[in-house]
Amino acid sequence: MLVVRLDRVFALCYRYFLVLSRSSFRVMDIVFWPVMDLLVWGFVSSYFAKSGGVVSPAVSFLVGGIIFFNVLYRAQQSISVSFLEDLWSRNLLSIFVSPITVAEFVSATYVVGVAQSVTVTIIMSLMASLLYAFDIFSMSWYLIPLFVNLLVMGWWLGLGTTAFILRYGYQAEALAWAVPFLLQPVSAVFYPVSVLPTALQAIAWLLPSTYVFEGMRNILQGGADSTSTLYLVKAALFNLLYWTVTVVFFGKMLSRARERGSLAKIVV
C-alpha cells in the first residue's frame, strides 16, 4: 500500500486533467458554483452591512468562509468524484487490474485535489478582492496552515467517502456530494461556534474545520496571535488523527469489499 511510483501517479494525473479539461459539466462544477456562491452571498452580506444590520467584518467572515470551505469541498470531491467518474465510465476495472497500488491511486487524486483547490482559491480570491475589497493576503503566512488543514480534511473525508462507496456500491454515491455539507453547519464556517447549541458545540470542537474557521475569523479581526496559532495546531492534530483512522478504515473497507465481492460488483 505504501509503495508509490511517481510515473504511475503522473499517468493518472495526466488522465484526470484530460478528462476534466474536456468535461464542461465538471469545469462548471468546479468553477461555476463556487463563483455563484461568492457572488450571491457576498452581495447579500454587503447589502446587510450597508443597511446597518451587520457589522463590517461579517462580510470578510462570509467571503473568507466561502473561499475556504471550497478548499475543503474541492479536495474531498477530487477523490470521491474522480472515483465515481471511473466507475461511471466503466474504466475502474482496467485501473484496478493494472499494477497500480492503492497509495498511487489515492496520491493521484490528492494531487488533482490540490490543483483544483488552488485554482478555485485563486479565482475566488481575485473576485473577492475586486468585488468586496477582501484581501486574502491580509492573513499573511497563516494562509498556508489554513489552506493545508482544509486540504487534508478534504483528503480524509474523500477517502472515507470512497471507502463507503467501495463497500456499499452505488447506493452510497450520494455521500460524495453530501458529506461536506453535512459537516458545514457544525464546522462554524459562517458563524462562530458560540452560536451553536451546546450539544452541537461539543461536536463542532471535534472537527478540524471548526478550528480553521474560528482561526480565520480571529486572524481577520486582527488577532494573528497565539490563539490563532493554537487553533491551527489543534486542527492539524485532529487532521493527523482522523487521516490515520481513515487510512486504516479505507484499508479495512477495501479488504471487506474483496471478501464480499462488492469490489468486483462495482468495478465490473
Binding site: F96, V97, A264
Partner: protein, 252 residues
C-alpha cells in the same frame, strides 16, 4: 518449444457469499502458452474465478498462485506480468484513443511507449483511430483498442472476458484470427471466457466447464464433444447447463 511451467495453479478454491456458494472445490493448472477456455452458463462461477485470479475477490478457501506468486500479497508483481480485456469495460470516452493507450502504457511502465503503441495499433489495423475520441468508436473498434491496451505490457498471461461479445460475425472472425496470431507469436497464456462456442472451438486448446460452482468437465473441445456423445460444443454446453449429462469419472 514452449516451456511447460505452470502459470496458474488453483487448488481447492471455494468462494461463499453470505448464504450462497459461488464456487467450490475448484482445482486446475494452466501451463505456459496454453489457450484455455473457461465455460459455463450464467452463475456457473466463471466470473468469480476470473475475479479471484485478478485479485478482486479473496477466496473463502483454497490456494491460488500465478507465476508462483500470490495475487493478493504480491499483487503488483503479478499484475505487471498480466493483462485483461473484457467487452464490459471501457476507457474514458472523452479521451482520444492514443491518449488512453498512453495512460495505460505509463501505468504498466512500458518503455518506448510511442513505438509500442504504434506497433500494436498497426498489428490490429487501427492506426487511423489514434486521434479519434474513444467514446465515438464502434464495438469492433473498441474491442481492438481494448486488445491493444491488453498487450501493451507484453503480458505473459492474458485474461479475456467475452472479448467478441456484441461483435458482428465478420469482426468477431477478424478478432479471433488476431488473437490466434498474437497468442502463437508470443507464446501467451490465455484464459478465455465466452458464450460463443465458435470462439472456443477455434481458439481454445483446452476447456474447463464450470457448473454450479464446480469444474465438471475438462479436455479439448473435440474430446468433450466425443466423450459426451454430442454433436458440437454448443450441445455439450446446453446438456451441461440443463443437467442432462452424467459425466464419466475420468471427466470429473
Amino acid at each position: 518449444m514452449v516451456e511447460l511451467v505452470d502459470i496458474i495453479e488453483v487448488e481447492n478454491l471455494a468462494k461463499r457469499f453470505d448464504n450462497s456458494v459461488a464456487i467450490q472445490d475448484v482445482s486446475f493448472t494452466i501451463k505456459k502458452g496454453e489457450f484455455v477456455g473457461l465455460l459455463g452458463s450464467n452463475g456457473a462461477g466463471k466470473s468469480t474465478t476470473i475475479q479471484i485470479l485478478l485479485g478482486l475477490i479473496t477466496p473463502s478457501a483454497g490456494k491460488v498462485r500465478i507465476f508462483g506468486l500470490s495475487p493478493w500479497k504480491e499483487r503488483v508483481q503479478v499484475l505487471a506480468r498480466t493483462n485483461f480485456s473484457s467487452a464490459y469495460v471501457a476507457m474514458p470516452p472523452n479521451l482520444k484513443v492514443i491518449e488512453n493507450l498512453e495512460v495505460f502504457a505509463r501505468l504498466y511502465g512500458v518503455r518506448d511507449r510511442k513505438a509500442k503503441i504504434q506497433e500494436l495499433m498497426s498489428l490490429f489495423g487501427i492506426e487511423q483511430l489514434s486521434q479519434k475520441m474513444t467514446g465515438a468508436l464502434s464495438s469492433g473498434e473498441s474491442t481492438r483498442v481494448n486488445l491493444c491496451k491488453a498487450l501493451l505490457n507484453d503480458p505473459e498471461l492474458l485474461l479475456l472476458d467475452e472479448p467478441t461479445a456484441s461483435l458482428d460475425p465478420d469482426i468477431a472472425d477478424k478478432v479471433r484470427n488476431l488473437l490466434k496470431q498474437v497468442q502463437k507469436e508470443r507464446a501467451l497464456t490465455v484464459v478465455y471466457t465466452s458464450h460463443n462456442m465458435i470462439d472456443v472451438e477455434e481458439l481454445c486448446q483446452r476447456v474447463l466447464f464450470l457448473h454450479q460452482g464446480r469444474i465438471i468437465a475438462q479436455g479439448t473441445p473435440a474430446e468433450l464433444v466425443a466423450n459426451l456423445g454430442e454433436e458440437s460444443l454448443e450441445e455439450v454446453f446446453i446438456s451441461i447447463a440443463r443437467d442432462r449429462v452424467r459425466l464419466p469419472h475420468s471427466q470429473q
